[in-house]
Subunit: 473 residues, 4 copies
């Protein structure tokens, strides 16, 4: 619909050195800061003296956790929370997280960002042994495997380490038991996960560092690939379960998913995008009057392009922050107005100008095509489209919503055809080689760029099987 | 709070001989008619060409299934629905039904009325084999056992028959698969379950016959204890899995739970209560001016008492149908008014009169005490309390909310002490022998009266273990 | 739709001898008790130190005044509240009351039960002098006239006395200013209004006495026709503005509108209905097995019929208290079920019986026709319909919703034709002469029976003009 | 609370050349685009064949006009809509607009942006002649005066022209009758109002041109000060009622209120702000590493400052778009986190830098002080605060919420004291002379800058009288 790739999830958790803290409040603020990683449903589980109290629902954090709900939630020693997207037709309420389950040795609350590559195989195997599933989410599979391994081990952390031998793919997890809060990142570190301190002592885990800042904490470090950070008895320990896997963060976290004020693996996201703009200006220069970004995701790269090319940066669009999807869809029902856009060009800025228009990526291109049309209508003389990432040519198996090549314009058309369809006067995508140069400067040697190359760092399924088990509402 | 025992659940389902019927509507009306069996949460699952679509939430049927929700629900060939209470502190949303699960051989939607006596043992055994639980409800245990047995059998009905060897206690179930709708009643027939026809051909299952009437159908028969009624391919077949168990319906279904217009095991509920009133007038006659019932549950017995004793029946109270719990509770917050009651005496009826006041039962007696006080304030000369059931002296293991003797006034005090506390001029309870006589006339030889005798038709746990696994909201 | 006449409104107010009382709570309970007089919208205005805080909305009292709203409302010294119906197509939110207005000498909060006969004339006259109207309600007209008269007088009570010379028709009012709470009843006393004491000292006004009882107060007396009761400075005074008008209470308050536990002009409503049943049994005896009332409005008269005729009283129907209009309407959308009814016959009671079926009145008769059909289907041998009121033959100008003869079956058909359409074996209406006898025993000499006779105690408009000024939602 | 001045209102309307158009949809999109002018309540009135249907409530446009509401609204020929703020303690629901009233000659729906300077005098005068008021809004006063004048004139437009002799102050109005849609701007043109075409023929009126663009229309021209544009019978005519008044648009529309993509009186708002930044860099240069704006209102001026000073523009803050007021307030309730801010600095951008921080204005400065603190914490070496407007030194009488000098920091402290309180290394405000230069380039000779000078273009009241008539909820 909105022509952007969707991250599937964001996770956040707090372990307080004190007891009986009102953790629902900062957890909700943290989740709200991560809301760009998942707008569909959210939830928070509080560990109140060993009892896990869970509240989750479909909706944004500020709608599911209205003040009177936050006030009703118990105080506690630990909390975990989750925001998520889901792909079309997927169950909704049932798949909201945290998932809280009971197993032979106790209770478990789990939040998960990522996607398993062998979830269906694991599910079928478990079902053959009598398992039943209440949802279609990978998280329930993870819970089952942990519970199964827990029967053979002496601690939940050992059970998780064992489970990591079976579950394949991308997973950043927070696992809460009656006594422990455990952060886990898969051996490849596909999805980000970091930790920090609040009030100088309490432990905070977050998908992105920005949420740690917003709740008033201090970022400390990323969780390492294959690492478990276990917090219990007010102490923190680290377990290494990496097994020599290669670190391959999803490069799209830098390109689009993460917030510009987050820093992942030592590289700030705004900085990455500015650099992407710079390299784009070197790789694809153009004679123009102004450089403008598509708000908000193209602004950082546009600034980088401008700085390096010396073509003045300007503000070409104003974003209507109050107009939501529903409204835009509802306008389609009437002859009296065209389908509205969230972006309106500033005529004064663009009239008579040659414009470099920078965006982060193109999925189907519907919105970009219409934006360029409005720029031309507002008097732009030329629009040179610059994309601060390579073209999408393959699906993602690690937790985003590109599950089919059908919707990827770059799988259907040549770059020249895309340019024509967009109505742009020229079009260039950033080379993958340039992406590599940017991250190399920050010591990052490898990453997952499967969606740009069709080559994945770990084995992937031959086909993406759709689960026909559907429950709606 | 409201001084009445609570039934835990009601269930309702339809199998249509046609496809693509708007089953959500009549299912919701059926559930609304059964709402007295459970006011806390409700849900409906529709089988739409093998896909099970489920909607459930906390709230009354007419609030969870508002017209726009009913219209969004798909048409289908089968539906099942559920209304439920839950005991204090219990999980709410998670325990709402239908429960829809996926197992090795397909999907299963289940609704359940009753309570297992060995749920904890079964759960522990399953957990030792790696099972995880998403809820604390017995229904998830039942699903697990059915799924486990399904691995060893050739059909879902065989799996259910096998499962019935393991699950003990009270259960009336509706089980929906992609092709089948199956009604199951435990071998003792603790909870009612009956079937009827809609439009002369479609099959309807319901906890009580009144819901079949209200949707415009015709009652056909009770499901027999230990019987499975399987509807598939537009045909109905019956399987007997009773194994010589003794039929022992919960006698409290007649006394209070069921609606007066329902007929269970051949005996109409209104008729039972009228007879109870008649026997009460024989057993405990009194010289009085009028007989009045406590609305609504004491009215039928009051009429029976009046008819036989020739003391005129009259209407002593008006019920405020718009005042809910919340209101009554909110009045406690202000000095300006006493705690309101839903019942207001008609002064003209009661002033200067000797009154026989009939109610169905006494749990703690708080409301009755205050009612008698208002009668006296309105000028009643004498109030003779007559209870159309024996005193509660023990807990229930089969699906109601008496889980502790603490709240039972008859466990704490003698009848004379209760009379005094109630402020009544005399007090009598109906003898169990008289209850036996009433049902015997309708060929009913045995029933469960454990709450009146402490003797239960099947083995019960030594103690009621409370599950500490708690999730709220 | 539901085949019953609708009262337009109920009003309730409290004047506390203390300051800063949480009056919202008891006012809401009082309104909830009067909810049968108006289910569409409601509101409460609190006088908090001279500042009038008003909250009103469409919905039942327990939905508009949820606990968190009640808690947000300020404490105060006085409160007034209102429940209302509105006729189809009428403005809703705008017409909700209390109406709070500002005029030259201060503020005024007003609630009104009744209907003016000269509202349109007054409105047109006011408009010709520059008035504008925000609503179509008579209440705004009343406010204008009071405000206009206030300019010429020294007190609000004098202004009201003056205003009463201009406004014609039915009006029971509560008027709240910064210092005063004033109850007003029109000179004919068309609509009831009474007062009582709460906690032995605070003053309560209510449309019906039952609401005074339910909030824990004691009924004191009716407001007299043409009387103003002014409460200010913790003192009560009475002003007589009757001007020799004849008292003519709407007789339908006894027949249907008021609650059986209310007493109006010294006659208890339940008592009236029982007497109506008695006279009906004398006037229209029948050889039958049982007498049953249509719940809830026919039950009292049925009891009276039974007592006098010695034909046993029985319970023929169970009412589904959870099924609302929306549900019943939604069942019309599906082939799978007939349109549901709120009433289900008890087969055991009616099978093979000759039944006297008593109801309070017939408007269009749609529900009665279907009820009699279900009785016959359940096996009733004969159904003799007895109506505890005369037939409706004309419209009402005084605050109910009969605004056209079209919907009155008795204007279209003979009694024999109605009997046939109802499917009854016989049909009789109570004679007006018998109604007169009943009230005469209680010293009531005159009343308004215009809907039964076409003769009205005061002048009425030649036609009921519909206001075309419409605002919805 | 949020340290920004609030505009009181935005208005929008459509006159369709066709009948029965679904005008609710584009009107809602237009209002949503104007939502920055008022977030508290909103409403739309549709003229459906002469019947005016009105829906309004407290809440954002996308919450009050959810899709099912928009679909229920009738089609029509004309529509008007409104968004509004209200000042603290003010009535809410009652003051929502459109106001729909009935007067002697018909109905009137009115929306209003602005504030009258003689509303209280007019109200008192009207009340002395018997008027009553349902609200405290100036709009009701305007309606009264128009209705009064309508009695003496032959058309509504004549009545409005007459009324304009009595009402003083700022008012941009849309007036809808059964046949006409009329746009009115006060003779000084304090508030903006413009018109455009939709689909090449339908007439659109809007507070700002951006809303015309977003619904797909084309901006045509500003309504002139003192002009009435009357649309009726599918024709447009203009009436001049200016009476030689001087045009004095509120300069703060350019500085902060209006959207950057709007053009008012020929000057684009983004352009104005960029120029303000340029002049600020000339007036108050500083040796720095980067220029950054406070999102979103300081961005345009920051860009202007950067362009002219050649100091690089950068992005210093990321805005949390999902975190609302409620959340920020709720964080105050817990020890575990500081009060959250919506803006988080990008450490990489600011660390070790001398920063020019540009914002549009300072009211109390609370947020700015905390922002500068976070910049310093993130490593900023110096922060030079530049304000793209003069200091506020007096109240506003023309439709914004500065009604007292108490909350204006520049009335309490010297610029040096403010600098110190803000924690800035230097602080400069744009000179009013520079503001004059900017607008003079676009032919704008005069404007209202009363809040910066204490000198107002028309007479103002000696004191702002607070109306004590309060109704909440």
């Amino acid at each position: 619909m909105f022509d952007k790739l969707k991250e599937e999830c964001g996770i956040f958790g707090i372990y307080s050195m004190d007891n009986n803290e009102a953790l629902a409040f900062p957890t909700a603020v943290g989740l709200s800061t991560l809301q760009h990683r998942g707008e569909e449903s959210c939830g928070i589980a509080i560990n109140d003296g060993g009892i896990i109290v869970n509240h989750k629902d479909v909706g944004l954090v500020n709608s599911v956790f209205k003040p009177h709900i936050l006030e009703q939630m118990p105080t506690g020693k630990m909390s975990i929370g989750h925001v998520r997207y889901s792909t079309t037709g997927d169950p909704k309420k049932e798949n909201a997280q945290p998932m809280v389950i009971r197993h032979a040795k106790g209770n478990l609350a789990v939040v998960h960002n990522g996607n398993l590559t062998n979830a269906l195989e694991l599910r079928e195997e478990l079902q053959k042994n009598g398992a039943i599933f209440n949802s279609t989410s990978d998280t329930e599979v993870i819970c089952y495997i942990i519970a199964r391994e827990r029967l053979k081990t002496h601690s939940i952390e050992d059970a998780i380490v064992n489970a990591m031998k079976y579950i394949k793919g991308a997973y950043s997890l927070l696992v809460m038991t009656s006594q422990k809060l455990i952060a886990v990142r898969d051996p490849n570190g596909f999805r980000p996960l970091c930790m920090g301190k609040l009030n100088g002592k309490d432990i905070v885990f977050s998908s992105e560092s920005c949420a740690i800042n917003i709740v008033g904490g201090d970022f400390e470090r990323d969780i390492k690939p294959g690492e478990l950070v276990v917090v219990t008895n007010n102490e923190v320990k680290s377990i290494d379960a990496r097994n020599n896997a290669k670190e391959t963060l999803c490069i799209f976290e830098y390109i689009y998913f993460a917030r510009p004020d987050s820093t992942i693996n030592g590289l700030n996201v705004h900085k990455f995008r500015e650099e992407a703009g710079k390299y784009l200006s070197i790789q694809a220069p153009v004679d123009a009057d102004i450089v403008a970004g598509v708000p908000d995701s193209g602004l950082d790269a546009a600034l980088g392009y401008s700085k390096h090319s010396k073509i003045p940066y300007d503000i070409a669009f104003v974003k209507s922050k109050y107009i939501g999807r529903t409204f835009i869809q509802s306008t389609q029902k009437t002859r009296k107005a065209q389908v509205a856009l969230k972006l309106n060009p500033i005529k004064t800025t663009v009239e008579g100008k040659k414009i470099v228009l920078v965006d982060d990526s193109i999925v189907r291109g519907n919105t970009l095509r219409r934006l360029i049309k409005t720029l031309k209508k507002a008097g732009a003389k030329e629009v040179h489209l610059r994309i601060a990432a390579p073209p999408f040519i393959d699906v993602c198996y690690f937790g985003t919503d590109i599950d089919s090549k059908e919707n990827l314009i770059a799988c259907q058309k040549s770059i020249e055809e895309i340019r024509e369809e967009m109505g742009a006067d020229s079009l260039e995508y950033l080379d993958l080689e340039n992406v590599k140069k940017i991250v190399a400067e920050y010591g990052i040697k490898d990453f997952c760029a499967g969606c740009f190359t069709g080559k994945y760092p770990i084995e992937v399924p031959k086909e993406i099987k759709k689960d026909k088990f559907e429950k709606i509402f």
